[in-house]
């Protein structure tokens, strides 16, 4: 029982990363109609920027948590302005292929420089020495922090899109970009900023995850495929949908580690197949 409960907590923590990544994907998809295949590579880049800041410049975790998303977000803005933007008139599949190519380049370059083994990133002070006693398990304070801070990020994202003026423009532009532009809103700039923000979320997840896992070039590739399955299951209709599905699947994955460990890699995909049978539009999606 206690192993089930502790896997549940671990699942919630993993799920908060799925949710963070699918949140970024959903925001980008909403406005750009593009599935950002480079999301995993940029998440990896976020973790490496944090590692590099510490390793080469001695800048620690807390500043990196802010600097890395900004750096990666700016890179995202450059990519959107120079590359992605050229393909909006075409079938969205072309942008899928473009971002796939970008992911191969980014991941390949890091593979050449760092190999596939990965670098360790220390858990930052003051979280390193503390842990929470939950009765059935000892939860390292860092993991609790990762979960809580991602929760804060979801709430902030939800607030910005649902309760602010900017968010209302964003939602309107998702529905009808032409009309919003006619009202004098600079939609192309909004698209650029949205891509930058979505990508910054990926980098934030990368920094947050860096002390949990080995910082390695391949860390994004496997995770992003799971996140795609999460997105298929949840549908990209709503922010809440992305969060609930991300957490839910993290928990399911955690439970399967106790009940039937061999299936823990595949359970998310099996659920995806099941959801396609029962509700092809996804749990929170609108009918196609």
């Amino acid at each position: 029982m206690s192993s089930l409960l502790s896997q549940l907590v671990v699942g919630l923590i993993n799920g908060s990363f799925y949710a963070l990544l699918s949140l970024g994907l959903a925001i980008i998809f909403g406005l750009l109609n593009v599935i950002n295949f480079a999301h995993g590579a940029l998440y990896m880049l976020g973790a490496f920027v944090a590692w590099g800041l510490l390793h080469y410049a001695g800048i620690g975790y807390w500043p990196a948590l802010v600097i890395s998303p900004i750096v990666v977000g700016l890179l995202g803005i450059v990519l959107e302005r120079t590359l992605l933007q050229r393909l909006y008139r075409l079938d969205p599949l072309y942008n899928l292929l473009l971002t796939f190519g970008l992911a191969l380049i980014i991941q390949g370059l890091f593979q050449i420089e760092f190999g596939s083994s990965g670098e360790a990133y220390e858990i930052p002070q003051p979280l390193k020495d503390y842990s929470l006693e939950l009765g059935f398990m000892t939860l390292p304070a860092y993991r609790a922090w990762a979960m809580i801070s991602s929760l804060v990020v979801y709430l902030a994202t939800w607030y910005v899109t649902e309760r602010t003026k900017l968010g209302s423009y964003l939602r309107a532009a998702t529905e009808n970009p032409g009309l919003v532009q006619a009202f004098g809103v600079n939609v192309p700039r909004m698209v650029t900023v949205t891509y930058g923000l979505g990508v910054a979320l990926a980098a934030f997840a990368g920094v947050l995850d860096a002390p949990n896992v080995q910082v390695s070039p391949a860390m994004g590739a496997d995770r992003i495929i799971v996140v795609f399955a999460v997105v298929v299951i949840g549908g990209m209709g709503s922010i809440m949908g992305a969060i609930v599905t991300g957490w839910g699947l993290g928990v399911v994955e955690g439970i399967s580690k106790v009940v039937y460990p061999a299936a823990s890699d595949t359970v998310v995909f099996a659920l995806m197949a099941l959801v396609l049978l029962v509700r092809p539009a996804g749990l929170f999606g609108k009918a196609p």
């Binding site: 072309y94 796939f100 190519g101 795609f228 399955a229």
Partner: protein, 323 residues
Amino acid sequence: MSSPRVPGFISVLWRALWRRENRVFTVMIAALVVAPFLTYPVVLTKCLCMALFACAFNLLVGYVGLLSFGHAIFLGCAGYGSAHAIAVWGLPPELAILFGTAVAAVFGVVVGWLAIRRQGIYFAMITLGLAQMIYFLCRQAPFTHGEDGIQGVPRGRLLGFIDLNDNLTMYMFVLVIFLIGFAIIYRIIHSPFGAVLTAIRENEQRTTSLGYNTDHYKLIAFVLSAALAGLAGATKALVFQFATLDDVKWTMSGEVILMTLIGGLGRFTGPVVGAFVVVKLESYLAHFAGWVAVAQGLVFVLCVLAFRQGIVGKLSEMLKLPL
């Protein structure tokens, strides 16, 4: 008395081969027959396997408009199927290849049946997800031998008397398989069935309104594409005498997209050209280990941004020939 007939026959054949719409195939086949005498046949054999794989993929993306991001499933599982059939059951090569193809077709039914429920980007993500699931299953299943793969598969004798251990004989055998697969795809595309597929690509709703059950057509096309990809995978396992996880991995699904894209999406001979380019590029970059992925990524970006018609599309435009 019969002597005038022979040149007559030859000239009829020649005229048929050199007809405008057949010329490109004549040149291609002639080049493929001559090629192994000019260069090392093993790399060419790999090119042929990948070319058939890419042609099968192109049947789906180019003519039905479904971008599958999981075609490695069919290449890889058919490879496991034929390697297992030879190494464990001792089947002769021709039956093993048929068995591998059948395995891929079965996977095609299941994956296609699930994936055609969504379109466009979702279709791509679903096929990728299912491919990842099958990758993990292959890594765990006992008969695939995990990370090692099935090694040391004997090539054996074709039909009991043709020794396939000779690389040139093997090349010719694979060329025959490739041409059969190529001809099947040609037949599919230029049939009434193929016309419906193209109609689905252009406008699915209108095709439905004309009374076609588009889901049936898409599923059949998917299974055909999977089976032909499987034919390529089963043959590849026989040629290289092993089946490993590399052929089931998502990178392989990306590679086949790249081949088709370089050659020209929806161009009939495009994938063949693309496969030769990609395989050659890989063997050229083999000494610079990590750079293969970077080079592939760069080619992806360049093709998508500036070269969407592909090599064959460009050639066709320059020569004013439908290629």
